[in-house]
Symmetry: C2
């Protein structure tokens, strides 16, 4: 089955389970709203691409890992957009969850998505319990404290921020989970795939920084100039646009070179080069064309 279909199917199945009998109607609606329609689904695509490169020996486990990672990413967007953080009115081109449903339901939607991610893992890896323990640890480590995305967001509450800890936790950790879990779901040793996730996470961060200074809000689907407005570090502001563009290209090259030997290495290399081209803002892509 095509990657996009596998991801959307796995996410639909998860969300439907959370909307079962007895669910409060507004929460059930907000859960769907927070996940569909999605963005580029970069993390679950990466997870399934690595699983496929490693032979895709357990597609159900790979699908559940990919869906869990996307659900956790969606949860982090819902909570990051809250009035007490970014107070973002829009996300993915529509009102953010708290703008549409109010802050209380946005808090609960994020909470329920986090739980649903782990429930999804448990369902998908039911036939391979040993793999479940591995996947659960990989995914949980990428999200919680001390170094997951929640910790990354918490760095924004500190007076002194360790930039590398901040970015590695806030963005890198879920990319690392995507590659490591993709390999582990296929029964391959996950840790050798950590570098690929880390480098792609950093590349995505640089591309995001470029978008924040180059795009208009309509293209981005969320407010622009947020890093400067919130005094957040931004690679394009630090290195200049050309410097950040060079950095992005280096990171992608290193990422592609880091791919461990595996049955589908060539295909994966091509795929990553094509997908990372999507990272860059339209304005840069047009200039490069």
């Amino acid at each position: 089955m095509q990657t996009t279909l596998r991801i959307e199917d796995a996410l639909q199945t998860a969300i439907r389970a959370s909307q079962g009998p007895g669910a409060p109607p507004l929460l059930a609606s907000a859960l769907h709203y927070a996940v569909f329609p999605g963005g580029h689904r970069i993390r679950p695509r990466l997870c399934l691409s690595v699983a496929r490169a490693c032979g895709d020996g357990d597609p159900l486990a790979a699908d559940s890992a990919a869906a869990a990672i996307e659900l956790l990413h969606c949860a982090s967007l819902v909570h990051d957009d809250l009035p007490c953080f970014d107070d973002a009115p829009t996300r993915r081109g529509k009102p953010s969850v708290h703008a549409q449903y109010g802050a209380p339901l946005a808090v609960l939607t994020g909470d329920a998505l986090i739980v649903l991610a782990f429930e999804t893992l448990a369902r998908g890896a039911a036939n391979s319990p040993q793999r479940l323990a591995t996947l659960l640890s990989i995914v949980a480590r990428a999200v919680g404290a001390p170094r997951g995305i929640v910790a990354g967001q918490a760095w924004e509450c500190e007076a002194a921020v360790s930039l590398s800890d901040y970015q590695r936790a806030k963005t890198g950790s879920l990319f690392i989970a995507a590659t490591v879990a993709g390999a582990a779901a296929a029964g391959a040793p996950g840790q050798s795939w950590s570098a690929l996730g880390e480098l792609l996470g950093e590349a995505y961060q640089v591309a995001d920084d470029l978008r924040d200074v180059l795009c208009d809000a309509e293209e981005l689907g969320k407010p622009i100039g947020q890093d400067a407005a919130r005094f957040r570090p931004n690679a394009a502001a630090q290195l200049g646009v050309q410097g950040a563009k060079n950095r992005l290209e280096n990171l992608v090259r290193n990422a592609v070179e880091s791919i461990p030997p595996c049955p589908g290495a060539d295909e994966l290399r091509a795929l990553i080069q094509a997908q990372t081209a999507q990272f860059a803002p339209t304005k840069l892509a047009l200039e490069a064309a």
Copy 2:
């Protein structure tokens, strides 16, 4: 090892793991603050009591289930106390997490505790992967949508509330998880322990309703009269104090009678009668004396 020590040890181990290298200091501090010192630890005590009654065949798995359930309970308290919900200034006799650390860190503390609960399960059940899948499903179902504690809290955002759905989800679900997971951790069939959890959860809810109308804020460690102030259903308001007291006694009697045959049934019956006596507010206990 004594129950209290097992629970506090398991919780300390979990919190220490979340405070490892790279953790943002304020988040690390807030995580400890949210869990220690605890309340009565009723849910993890119940979990370990059931595990012991079933032979306690895998103490590490039982400890991790008990700790996970308490971490999730703490997470729900932190989020329920937020300004957008109850805006509670105090909890367990000290400033609530958001009063002490601000709302952003309180949101993240709750998130990190949810993730930590699942990570704790993964660590504790590492030696029995098949049991991990069972425990993970039991615990996740008790917390997320459609019928876990997050769904229970979401009923407060609905115009029309199904009282039984609300109370079963908000309070009952985690008590059910405590008994079912306690049995499952010991290798016993969990589902036959569901009735005990459900009845004790309802008993606790009635006792909590009594406390809300009878106690003073100092005894309770949090604001009183919150149900009336927030138009929440309250058994003592609906049945009168004596009616609610009778209901509480009936529920405890039925709970004790529901205990399935197991090696430690007699001891568990005595323990539950002693523990449920602690549910009742001091004022009632003194009147009964």
